[in-house]
Symmetry: C3
Subunit: 474 residues, 3 copies
């Protein structure tokens, strides 16, 4: 007999009866609040065409989710057997029978036990698709058929789920030169303005990348500004931000290795940009240029009001063999130690006191929670702390975050929850875990008399809903 | 209706009934022990004049407490509106109506919820001033009037509170050239010898500071030794320590950026000192000089028996704009990563095995608790670990400390509690939080059978009272 | 009246009644599983002679255990008074009356309260030797006599305890040139093949050590290969590994300061090796050589199937005074910050995807658990995370480990428990603490509905027994 998902209504809460009762009481008032998702990686095309769907079960739950297939890979399974697409120039082949891929997924599903993904998938199976069984070797085919049938029905189309999930706003992530055609289609169709783009110009900061000049050309074309100098480049970015704003964008996002903003003198800047345009920029050029651009982006935000988001400290594509076969985003991005106190100072000194600027900070290095981020957020008016990100967006991760930052930063300097996912059906699961963790943490404080229930109810709503809306102006 | 402070007698303890009962039993025996406060920043002038008072409510609770107003600043309020004094050369003005400041404080008091300061202030309102209400917009004026009345009565003078708080000893922090006139007045008046100075020579180590030569001149005058060479300088410091000793001092304190003691050859030392006297010392000079001086101070401690306290790892005045307007200690000091294993080695190798030397270490970098500090304290006889400091002097901070260090360092290598505050009325609150956290942690161990109640009672008293007395020789 | 060891059957578990019941239920099924100990430092000579014993109580419990006497040292007691052997060239004397040493140990035993050693010793007293009393000044002599009597009886001989402890396999740690004579004797005597050597070639990587050439000579003799070039050196190591394999070895171990494998070009490598053979290698040579050798050892493992264990990040012999008097392993090894993401990349890129290679990683730097090790283990198929090591092999240490790594790495990428001790009688205590901590943690997950009891039972067995057997091929 297959095992069934547990998911009782009091799941995840600490077991002390009084605390659990308190947590449930707090949770009851926030569980059904609309979802605000100001940062993530869902594909806007899902919503552009009213008839668009998720594909088959493997296409929906396995192929796009590197959180999941990395665990199978770590246990000796080959990504090719999961049908992970190869790089375009590859002569290898991968599994194309999605039912086979699904079977492999189900057979190995137990390897995920204890991970955050296991929870999210459980929520999706049980509450999104109404499937009580935990996948295994025996039920793989049956689950596949059941999911295929459901996914074919109108109520499982992305637009329908958007309503069912009660998503008030969802922001995508888009390149600086992106046409935002999907966003245009969504708006043109008059369906909703709840899907918004986000300006993420990382690719035009990768001076050493083989594709840099192509990126600049794309930026030129998109902005209508011919880019030959740094000033052109900057003007093109500003122009694009204006366009993004007309499409509903409220923020930018920056995935830098080291969060070290620092202005360069104009002369050096032009020289580096010229070298980059000639394909001759080196590592030091790129580093300095990225540092400078963070200052520019903050200055642009001051003018156009875009919230600036920083996601630093990841060694991307750590496993060259996987990168060479499959490309980026295959579960081999590994965090590195990150320093904020000294690194962020130039930006915070120039912009951190300004009422019109908002910087939302993320980290994968939990050691900075109590040492650097909470003291910084407890001082600079422009700074808000994003929630636990990526690997730390988990039950224990969220608990560690609250335990480490609140006593120093307070609760009003936190951004509230941001899901940052590319797996659309997992969004309600992620928000539910956060709301439960938040309720549990507040209950912990209440039963210890740090504050009362009236405060707890207000703070729960603040971090689950009001605060992200307010910070991002949604 | 205003909200009321909760503060039940079993506050903060974990909710499991058996553990809470155990914690209360442990706490009952230590709650009323006298307070020993071997390190802090209370102004000795509060006690010099028997008639001295705390001023009005804003002067007592808002203006001096950067732990508090930094949170308001982080939420977009201006420090000028809180009447925070400007730098002397400023042409700006700040709010001078203290009732208005108080109203602003009360209106925004809810922003502090969840912070350590919220707890301490609650304790002060409820137990020091007998005010049950949590400040808000409505009760601001009423609370102001009530506090003004109370603060005017003799029982709220500092000397009276010293008795009511059951403070057995309190140590202040004083510059190397300080006349200790307040201390002299206290002793001359025959009131008590419970107020003691602490020797903190940081300002004469700041070689690059504009005021360095003035500091040296003050040191010359205070010591009666004309300082032209390093040897003079050292002799003057020794002379001053002798004087501090006659005034009751038992320890020194050192706030260095990096805890990296290392001896310099005599020739280099003299050269650096000469450059400093001529206003030509650079960053590297200062760094080396501070490193050397830590060795000298340890050597002096070996002779005069002063406990050496080290508070490293803070980036002071991180926000230049605030520093330029208001000066130092305005809530913008941010911790940095700190290394002890390699850095402290020269000092520990030269002095760490000596029975006549005691070094009490503090850190704002919790990552070193289990990795470096506990193993070091579990080995070197001269080393004792100070309690969680500053931002980490909080309920969760204290819990993390015990959980991280005890299994490696044992309990006898901890210094016990040290409040390190400049907010005199918060002293009982801080000691009470520590005593509760200690009791709760010991109860956690007892109900898990790591040791029994007899041990727990002894260890509670050890860390709440006996150990700081013994280490500092009070 | 002396205090008695508590050690109830539900010891250490969290007190919530439901969780404790669940933990006990999980623990009951794994408590009696055989012990597999794939890495440690027990002396094989204990088992070579059937009549070998542990000596007197001081020889068994005090003299070899630097976890214990370091705590006494930290409180001002002299190691000489505990009879710790001096370096061979010393003119000092140490206490030789073992009864006196035992008394000192008992008088100061309370200083250990709260440490991991206190627990382990309690388990040994109560369950290995049937002694209910906690040592103190009063019972010291009585306990000494009782232990002497017991240790004289056949049932307390190492071989007898091996059976009573239900140890299925125990691996020792042996130098590259070791004759493994004790292992030969054990096998020749036909008693058992449950004692296996481990290949630890650290001493032949210490290029700057005074004894380096002697070590090479020993390696030459042991391998029968005359070593003049690096190729000879490498061939000798391969030859020795072959011999270790015939004696039952399944793994190698490497105690490097920095886990930074990186290949050197052949020419540089030969030059460095030549300098080392002439006694002229410098710090940089040694560092590069060690980095290169880690790559070589991984390559050898790929061929001979030895599991590669890495124990990095310790500043050995931090206290020069103690090292000069007593030598190595005297409780003054202090951890340092350790970086894995960037450092390990060359090795993981070359070998980390290979199904025939297994790397078990240890660390004393807990900050890398969630940031680096869990993401790495959740991706690379060759990587498994060793359990909390040394100072972190403690109740809270184990809890922090599970809380930090599982949600990212899953449970199948952990190695399960490895005791790493030189104190043979403490082995059951250490495994019992781990099994309890594991059961408690799994119960925590079960009562929060992260997974069910069937999963918990399977995972408990996996990490207590099956997984180390499988990884090490035992």
């Amino acid at each position: 007999m297959p095992k069934k998902w547990l998911f009782p209504d009091d799941r995840f809460f600490d077991p002390d009866p009084l605390q659990k009762k308190t947590a449930l009481e707090i949770y009851e008032r926030i569980r059904a609040l609309p979802i605000v998702s100001p940062h993530g990686h869902v594909d806007a095309n899902l919503f552009a065409d009213p008839a668009a769907g998720f594909g088959d079960p493997a296409e929906m739950l396995v192929l796009p989710d590197h959180y999941v297939f990395r665990v199978f890979y770590s246990q000796g399974l080959d990504l090719a057997d999961f049908g992970i697409p190869l790089r375009s120039d590859s002569s290898e082949t991968v599994e194309t029978d999605h039912r086979k891929i699904w079977r492999l997924f189900c057979e190995n599903f137990h390897l995920l036990v204890g991970t955050a993904s296991y929870n999210w998938l459980g929520h999706e199976f049980k509450f999104v698709f109404g499937i009580d069984e935990i996948p295994d070797r025996e039920n793989a085919d049956r689950l596949y058929d059941e999911l295929v049938e459901k996914l074919a029905s109108p109520e499982f189309r992305p637009r329908a789920l958007m309503d069912r999930f009660n998503i008030e706003t969802i922001c995508t992530t888009d390149g600086a030169a992106d046409s935002l055609s999907a966003h245009q289609a969504i708006r043109a169709g008059g369906w909703t303005d709840r899907v918004r783009p986000t300006f993420r110009p990382d690719s035009v900061m990768a001076l050493r990348s083989a594709g840099f000049r192509l990126e600049i050309e794309r930026l030129s074309n998109a902005s209508g500004i011919e880019i030959t100098t740094f000033d052109d480049f900057r003007a093109a970015l500003v122009r694009r931000r204006e366009f993004f704003k007309t499409m509903g964008a409220v923020s930018t996002d920056h995935g830098v290795y080291k969060p070290a903003p620092k202005r360069l003198p104009k002369r050096k800047l032009e020289a580096i940009f010229a070298r980059a345009m000639n394909g001759g920029a080196d590592k030091s050029d790129e580093k300095k240029f990225c540092g400078h651009m963070l200052m520019e982006f903050a200055e642009m935000s001051l003018k156009d009001g875009f919230v600036m988001q920083l996601h630093p400290g990841v060694f991307r594509n750590h496993n060259r063999q996987i990168f060479d076969r499959f490309g980026a985003d295959k579960g081999c991005d590994i965090p590195v130690r990150t320093e904020f106190t000294r690194n962020l100072r130039p930006l915070l000194n120039e912009f951190g006191n300004h009422p019109n600027f908002k910087l939302v900070l993320f980290t994968l290095d939990e050691t900075v929670y109590s040492r650097e981020l909470a003291p910084l957020a407890g001082h600079y008016p422009a700074l808000r702390l994003g929630p636990p990100w990526w690997f730390n967006d988990s039950w224990n991760g969220i608990n560690r975050f609250f335990d480490s930052v609140v006593e120093t930063a307070g609760l009003y300097n936190l951004s509230g929850f941001i899901d940052d996912t590319r797996a659309f059906p997992s969004i309600p699961a992620r928000h539910d875990v956060f709301r439960r963790a938040l309720s549990n943490w507040l209950a912990k404080m209440v039963v210890r008399s740090f504050f009362g229930m009236e405060d707890a109810h207000g703070l729960a709503r603040l971090l689950a809903y009001d605060q992200p809306k307010a910070i991002y102006g949604l």
